[in-house]
Symmetry: C2
Subunit: 399 residues, 2 copies
C-alpha cells in the first residue's frame, strides 16, 4: 500500500542527518509542495509545548504552507531560548535550499525531551533532502520520523469529492507517551483537494476526534504532538469554501478514514504491545461520560496487564469504570468481548462465558464493549495491552 502512493502537488523525502544517538537510521523528513498549499494543524495542549510547536503555531494560523520538516532523535522540548533558536534555524534551512521562507515552513520534532536540537546537522543535509524528495517518497518520510515504532505507518484513500477523484495520504509516528489531548502525535496528511483554509481547519478538527484523539497507549501526553494537513488543490474540484458544501462532507469522510487507519496503527504498534484493543463505551448519558470511562478503562494498568494474559478479568474493568465520578449503577452495566457476553446486570456470567471471552482475547485484536443502560451516547477508544516489554523499552530508552 505504501508502494506508489502519490498525492499530486507534493513530494516527500527522508534521509539520515545524524540527529539520532545511534547512527544507521533516517531521521529527517520533508514534505514539500510544488506551490503554496492550504494548511491546517492541531498541536499538543501541553503547557510544556516543544519549541517547534511554539514556532509552528503562528505559521499554521496563516492557513498556508510550502513545506513540512520533521526530525526524529530529539524532541527539542524543555530547551528554553536555545531550543527556540534551533527550531528557528531548522525552519530557515529551507530558505537557501529551496527558496522557501521560514514563514511557510511547518516543523515538528520527536525524541528525547530536554535535548537541544543540533540545527547544524539539519543545515548540512537540507539541500540533499530537497533533492531527494519525490512524489512517490511517502515511505521515506515515514521511516525518518519513527522512534520506538516497530513499523512505518502510512495510509491513503481515494474518493470522489465534488465530482473529481481526490487522493488523501498520510503518515504518522508514535508508540509511547501517547494519549493526545485535543491533538496528536506526529502526523502529516496531504491531499490534492481544492479547499480554503477555514473549512480545512474545521475539517481537520472533526477528523481528529474519532481518530488520533481516540488513541491511548499509556495515558501520557507528549510535549510535541502535531498533526498537519496540507491541500494542494491539484484535483481541480470546485474549491470548497464552507462546511456546508456537499464536497466538504465527501472530503471529511476521506480524511477521517485515513486518520482512523493511522490512529489504529499507532495503537496496534504501542510500545511492547501484543494486542490491539478497541474499548467501546455505549448507552452513556453523553459523549464526554463515554469518553472518560473508555479512557479510564484503556489506561488502567491492571486492565491492560490482564489483556496481555488474555484474562477475561472483567472485575478490573468494572473497578476502572466505577471510579470516574459518574455515579454508575453497577446493576445496569454489561460487558462484552468481541460480542461474547461476559457481564449482565453488573454480575459475571460464569466460567463458560469467561472461557469464551478468553478465546477472543487470545487473538491479536478484540473489542471490549461496556454498556451503561443510561443513555444513547457512544465513544470508541483505541489502545493496546501492557507487556513486560513496555517497561523494558521505557526503562532503557535513554541508556
Amino acid at each position: 500500500m505504501a508502494g506508489e502512493i502519490v498525492v499530486p502537488g507534493f513530494r516527500w523525502g527522508g534521509l539520515e542527518a545524524g540527529i539520532r544517538k545511534r547512527p544507521g537510521r533516517p531521521d529527517l523528513a520533508l514534505l514539500i509542495a510544488d506551490e503554496p498549499a492550504v494548511a491546517a494543524a492541531v498541536f499538543t495542549q501541553s503547557d510544556m509545548a516543544a519549541a517547534p510547536v511554539q514556532l509552528s503555531r503562528p505559521v499554521a494560523a496563516t492557513g498556508r504552507a510550502r513545506a513540512v520538516l520533521m526530525n526524529a532523535g530529539c524532541a527539542n522540548a524543555c530547551t528554553g531560548e536555545a531550543g527556540f533558536e534551533a527550531a528557528r534555524r531548522m525552519a530557515a534551512s529551507l530558505q537557501q535550499a529551496a527558496g522557501i521562507a521560514p514563514t511557510e515552513v511547518l516543523t515538528a520534532s520527536t525524541g528525547v525531551i530536554g535535548a537541544l536540537l543540533p540545527a547544524e546537522k539539519i543545515e548540512a543535509r537540507i539541500a540533499d533532502l530537497v533533492a531527494a524528495a519525490r512524489p512517490e517518497g511517502i515511505r521515506d518520510f515515514s521511516l525518518a520520523i519513527m522512534t520506538t515504532d516497530t513499523r512505518e505507518k502510512v495510509a491513503s484513500k481515494q474518493g470522489t469529492v465534488g465530482g473529481k477523484t481526490v487522493t488523501v495520504a498520510g503518515v504518522c509516528k508514535g508508540a509511547g507517551m501517547i494519549m493526545p489531548n485535543m491533538a496528536t502525535m506526529l502526523a502529516c496528511v496531504a491531499t490534492d483537494a481544492s479547499i480554503e483554509a477555514a473549512p480545512l481547519s474545521a475539517l481537520l478538527r472533526s477528523a481528529v476526534w474519532p481518530s488520533f484523539n481516540a488513541v491511548t497507549v499509556d495515558g501520557d501526553t507528549s510535549t510535541n504532538d502535531t498533526l498537519y494537513l496540507l491541500a494542494s488543490g491539484k484535483a481541480a474540484n470546485e474549491k470548497i469554501t464552507s462546511e456546508r458544501d456537499a464536497a466538504y462532507g465527501e472530503l471529511l469522510a476521506l480524511v477521517r478514514e485515513v486518520c482512523i487507519e493511522l490512529a489504529k496503527k499507532i495503537a496496534a504498534d504501542g510500545e511492547g504491545a501484543t494486542k490491539f484493543v478497541e474499548v467501546s463505551v455505549e448507552e452513556a448519558r453523553d459523549e464526554n461520560e463515554a469518553d472518560v470511562i473508555a479512557r479510564r478503562i484503556a489506561n488502567s494498568p491492571l486492565v491492560k496487564t490482564a489483556w496481555h494474559a488474555a484474562d477475561a478479568n472483567w472485575g478490573r474493568i468494572m473497578a476502572a469504570a466505577g471510579t470516574c465520578g459518574f455515579s454508575l449503577d453497577p446493576s445496569k452495566v454489561s460487558i462484552e468481548v468481541s460480542g461474547v457476553p461476559l457481564v449482565r446486570g453488573g454480575v459475571g456470567l460464569g466460567a463458560a462465558a469467561e472461557d469464551a471471552a478468553t478465546e477472543k482475547m487470545k487473538g491479536p485484536a478484540f473489542v471490549v464493549t461496556v454498556k451503561l443502560s443510561r443513555g444513547a451516547a457512544q465513544r470508541s477508544v483505541f489502545t493496546c495491552d501492557y507487556s513486560a516489554d513496555y517497561v523494558k523499552i521505557n526503562a532503557e530508552y535513554r541508556t
Copy 2:
C-alpha cells in the same frame, strides 16, 4: 516491632479458612474488642463498592463496633444480591461464636473481583478464630489479609494524650489497584484512647489525607478500600468530646504517624516495586493543584519506568506536569532529586547534574521535588517505580 504490640481492650487473630484459591496461607482476620468500642471508618468512593462495604457503611455510621472481620482471597465485589447475602452471613457468623450482633461487626474483603464469597468457609472456622484471638496477635491479623503484598504491614506508636499514655497500632494490606480516592485499601487501626464517635470520625478523616490518600501505586482505585479505626477507652484519659480539646490534637498526631507509616509501607511494597518514591510538588497555587500534579507524575508509566532504570529523565516529569490543565509556565519550574538540582527555569542543568541525580536514584528510596514558583501550597504523594514484574504479577494474577 510487630513483636509485642498490645492495644489494651483489643485482641487480634488470623487463621486459614480456605478462601484463597491456593491453600497454605491464612485468609481470615479478626479484631475483637473486649467491650463495645467507638468506631470510625472511611470507604472507597467507587460506584462499584463491594458488598462488605455496602454492608458496613451503616454499621460504621452508628459510631460503635465490637469486631472487625476481614478476609483475603475474594473481594466479594460485583457479586450482586448473592454477594450481599454472603457478606451478611460473614457478619452474622460472630453472633453464635462470640455473642456479637451483626450490627456491631465491621467487615472487609480483598481478592479477585467478581468471585462470590464462600460464607460457609467462614462460618466453619469462626469459633476457632475467636478462640485464637489474643492481645499480641496483630501480626496474625496482618498475615491473613495479605494478597500480592510481599511483607506484612504493621505500625504502632505510643504517646501522651490528655496526660495518659496512649497506644495506637494498625495493620494494612495493599500492593496493587492502589490509588485510594478519599478512602484507602484494607487497614485497621486500634487505640486505647477514650474518645467520642464524632471527633473520632473527624480525626480519621484528617489522618487519611496525608497518609493513605497520598499513596498511589498504579492509579487504579479498588472496589473494596476500607479503613477502620476503633478506640477502646482503656487508657482512661478524659474522654475527648470535641476537635477543640487539646488531647484531640495529641491523638490525631499519633494516629497520623501510624497511618503515614502504614501508607509508606504500601508504596514501598507496590507490586513489582524496587524503589520507594515520594513526589513532592511545592510552591503550587493551592493544595489541589499540587495534588493533581503530584499524582499525574506518580502515575505516569513513562516516569515510573525511568525511575526503575534510575534514569534522571526529567523531561518525562515535565511532560506529565504539563498536561494537568493548570497552564504552568515551564520557565518557572525546577526539579530536584533528593536535594540534587536537575532542572532550573524549565531547562536541564546538564549531564553532571543528571549523573548526580542518577546516583540518588540508584538507592531504594528517593524524593522528587517539583517547584512551581507560583504559590505556597505543597503536597506529597507516595509511590514506587514500575518494573517488568508489575506486568508479570498482574498478567498472571488469576492464572
